[in-house]
């Protein structure tokens, strides 16, 4: 899609959302910049009656849901409440910057507020750079539009002239949709591999808004095609089949309407009608044209990332030390924001000042506590752990022993599951490494990825170690302690840059291994060669890792080694 076309669609999405805020909102995937600003300005102009409220990403519950205004309460000596953002959200547009970093708690609260009927529209400003960095899926699922502005150039930005939004809104309630529109949307969604039923529902709603915007009294081809392009196409998880053979088939196979006789009658009437039925293949064509061109590449590379909201939102990450774990003394701080007040500590710190405060205060006979006095409890928590499995799937030795290697990993997986650790899976073969599974607690996913792991090709150990190191760094960034289990025979023959050749490959691998050692990542190297070999031992030494040859390792030795190393990592 050209930049101009992308901008035109982005504009239409803004207009439709202004006509019907019930469409939920939009995920605006773009870096901060003129295109994003222009879109926001345009939307603000179109939906001028729905003031924009920015929600800071780290917003605390008392601002979101309302609560006690501590400073004002203390000053006034009586409870002063402050209203929360969500209390005032109805009829407004909430904008969530850095949506790819949204905490699951915030996403859940926004969803709950909407489920309970607060009719705010939500714009997620998603600046994610990688496919796996994206706004929480639970939140995005409820929003109709995905607007990508990456391809839009300055020259493309023009002010779009739309029909009167107010007039379109007035028309919206009366816009009729042909009876088979619901089926058309459901069929297209299924052909695109979209599981969630919210997508076709939102598409139907968008089609109505599009008709209203165009000044029509009922949904026609153009409106439906537009809705498919804007709502369904960006959610596609697979390419629809070619139109001439299969695309229509699902519809033909579909039995008419199930139990409702009236529906069936109405439908047959409609088919005789002039402006009905809209063929699914026309809509599919609209979708096909709008599917992002990198879809296939993205799917191949990132099938693991389809529900990114969950990952990193997992229960283990980024725990604040204020609220959990064992108590470890107290410190000065604000007793809200999830911290627990240390009442005794607070009173103790307020006590010496009482005579002085009484003298200058209102003379009331009560303890005078000021914001300064608050003490909150601190707590210590054992760090969460993630085990990163780095699997050599190359042709050399792994090929013969891949099944055994998988068996070994499964054993260790079982153990990691029992200990509630996260696991991640990286494999390397051919000319590079691949993250098969980012850190997760889901065994289902891990097993599936592991079973699908194929072997063959060269041994780019350096690339594998580098990828694993990247994951380890990310984990540390989230406060999760990484632990690396490398399963290889150490016979690397592909260098970092993908060129074959043993000496360079070995030098590269050692270099990365030393870098890993410098990061202090605890590691275990399991030699999966037919007999213990010098290369694997050498890599283990360079990494400062425990070395364990698989031929001698039975199940108990394996899990014992992993367990011992993890203990050391605590």
């Amino acid at each position: 899609m050209t930049g101009a076309a992308a901008w035109a669609d982005a504009g239409l999405a803004a207009a439709l959302l202004a006509v019907d805020p019930g469409l939920g909102g939009a995920v605006l995937r773009a870096r901060a910049g003129p295109a994003r600003d222009a879109w926001m300005e345009m939307f603000a102009r179109l939906a001028a009656d729905r003031p924009i409220v920015r929600v800071p990403p780290g917003i605390e519950d008392d601002r979101l849901l309302g609560g006690l205004d501590l400073a004002a309460t203390l000053a006034a000596g009586r409870p002063v409440r402050s209203a929360g953002l969500l209390d005032e959200a109805a009829g407004r547009t909430l904008v969530l910057p850095m949506a790819e970093r949204t905490a699951p708690g915030l996403a859940a609260r926004l969803n709950a507020a909407r489920d309970r009927g607060s009719d705010f529209a939500l714009i997620l400003l998603d600046e994610g750079a990688e496919p796996d960095e994206a706004a929480p899926a639970a939140l995005a699922d409820r929003l109709a539009f995905r607007v990508a502005l990456d391809t839009v150039a300055m020259a493309d930005l023009g002010s779009e002239a739309y029909e009167d939004v107010a007039a379109a809104r007035a028309r919206l309630g009366a816009v009729a949709a042909p009876e088979d529109m619901a089926r058309a949307m459901a069929t297209v969604a299924a052909a695109l591999g979209i599981g969630s039923l919210r997508a076709p529902m939102l598409a139907l709603r968008a089609a109505r808004a599009a008709a209203a915007l165009a000044g029509d009294a009922s949904v026609d081809h153009d409106a439906a095609a537009l809705a498919v392009r804007l709502v369904l196409a960006p959610r596609a998880t697979r390419m629809p089949e070619a139109p001439e053979d299969d695309a229509e088939e699902p519809e033909r196979e579909t039995p008419p309407e199930p139990d409702k006789d009236e529906n069936r009658e109405r439908e047959t009437e409609d088919e005789r009608d002039d402006d009905a039925p809209i063929p699914d293949d026309v809509l599919l064509e609209a979708a096909r044209a709008a599917i992002p061109q990198d879809l296939l590449a993205r799917l191949l590379a990132g099938a693991a990332f389809r529900s990114p909201g969950a990952k990193g939102g997992g229960a283990g990450d980024e725990r604040k030390s204020k609220a959990r774990g064992r108590p470890a003394g107290s410190m000065r701080g604000d007793p809200r924001h999830g911290a627990r007040i240390d009442l005794i500590g607070t009173l103790r710190s307020a006590a010496p000042w009482q005579p002085l405060r009484r003298r200058i205060g209102d003379g009331a006979d009560r303890v005078l506590v000021q914001a300064d006095d608050f003490r909150i409890k601190r707590s210590k928590r054992k760090a969460e752990k993630v085990v990163i499995f780095l699997v050599d799937a190359s042709g050399s030795a792994a090929f013969a022993r891949l099944a055994e290697t998988k068996g070994a990993i499964e054993l260790m997986l079982g153990q990691a599951y029992v200990a509630r650790r996260q696991v991640a899976l990286v494999s390397f073969r051919g000319d590079g490494a691949e993250v098969l599974l980012p850190p997760t607690r889901s065994l289902v996913m891990t097993k599936r990825r592991l079973a699908a792991l194929a072997g063959g090709g060269g041994t780019p150990l350096a690339a594998g170690l580098a990828t694993a190191m990247g994951l380890a760094d990310q984990a540390r960034g989230r406060g999760v302690a990484p632990y690396l289990a490398v399963l290889t025979d150490g016979r690397c023959n592909v260098a970092m840059d993908g060129t074959p050749g043993r000496p360079r490959a070995e030098a590269d691998a050692r270099q990365v291994a030393r870098a890993l050692r410098a990061t202090g990542t605890r590691a275990l190297v399991i030699d999966i060669g037919n007999r213990p070999s010098a290369p694997a031992r050498g890599i283990a030494e360079a990494m400062g890792a425990v070395y364990l040859p698989l031929p001698r390792a039975d199940a108990r030795a394996l899990s014992g080694a992993l367990g011992a190393a993890m203990e050391g990592a605590a």
């Binding site: 519950d61 501590l70 309460t73 203390l74 009586r78 409870p79 699951p104 708690g105 915030l106 996403a107 859940a108 609260r109 709950a112 489920d115 309970r116 009927g117 639970a138 309630g173 619901a182 089926r183 949307m185 459901a186 299924a190 599981g195 969630s196 039923l197 997508a199 529902m201 139907l204 709603r205 519809e251 579909t254 008419p256 309407e257 199930p258 409702k260 529900s307 969950a310 229960a315 725990r319 609220a323 959990r324 007793p335 999830g338 627990r340 007040i341 009560r366 499964e410 997986l413 079982g414 599951y417 029992v418 509630r420 997760t440 607690r441 889901s442 065994l443 289902v444 097993k447 079973a451």
Partner: protein
Amino acid sequence: MPLAFPYSAIVGQTEMKLALTLTAIDPSIGGVLVFGDRGTGKSTAVRSLAALLPPIEIAAGSAYNLPPEDGETAESVPTPVIDLPLGATEDRVVGALDLEKALTKGEKAFEPGLLARAHRGFLYIDEVNLLEDHIVDLLLDVAASGENVVEREGLSVRHAARFVLVGSGNPEEGELRPQLLDRFGLSVEVASPTDIAERVEVIRRRDAFDRDPEAFTMTWAAEDGAHREAILAARKRLAEVTLSDETLGEAARLCVALGADGLRGELTLMRASRALAAFEGATRVTRAHLRAIASSSLRHRLRRDPLDEAGSGARVERVVAEVLPA
């Protein structure tokens, strides 16, 4: 409060609806776990069911949803459905020192949390598998004892907290500890309907509801009303439904054959099959009732083989067919 989508208008998802209905009849069954895809109507079903249930009588202004005692004015409130959001702090869940009163009046008072508000209703946790472990621990304890005990900040408070725990989540995003799994009475798996006709019907009904909630709700009012009556009638009948020793023996044999952990499985089988019998107007529990609820009652209690590829639902079906042939 906006209108909830009518419960009877939810298309398909019979296993989930049956499980929710049964816990509404007998809350002691102990909650429902709904695992499955996004956008399959999990939260819709919970909210719809609560809207369908009759209001509860509480002592006027009671923050703990306590029933009125002699002489107290009664107040009628809708069956509570309390959301427990991810990232909720312990304070919000169990309650905490009322800072307001402590600061302004110097009083040591307790501010009840979500558990108090959920008493006699539903506590709904979306994405329960992503909930922080320490909150999960709290919930387990309260759900088991029916009582919330708070010992913190010099407070010592206990209050009743009996609620139907409804959790939902997507298994691909993380799993639940076996201890938490076990606390849910029933467990159901939902999936987006694959049948286009069914999907179309879902979209149609939702569209009709969005366009005119009042009219749509009216259309389904009779069916919702009938369902409410059926639940209320079943509650009345529940105590009279008999469970023969023979059926008890069958339930036990099933649990042994499956290697289900603990006695909780048997207990749930008994309670759920009794509720089902009452719902169907039967006077005694039969093998058919056991068979109907075996999967929901037991699939989450099997000793977990972390690497078992086949779903545990299939395992239960297989053993049921062996042990309790129709």
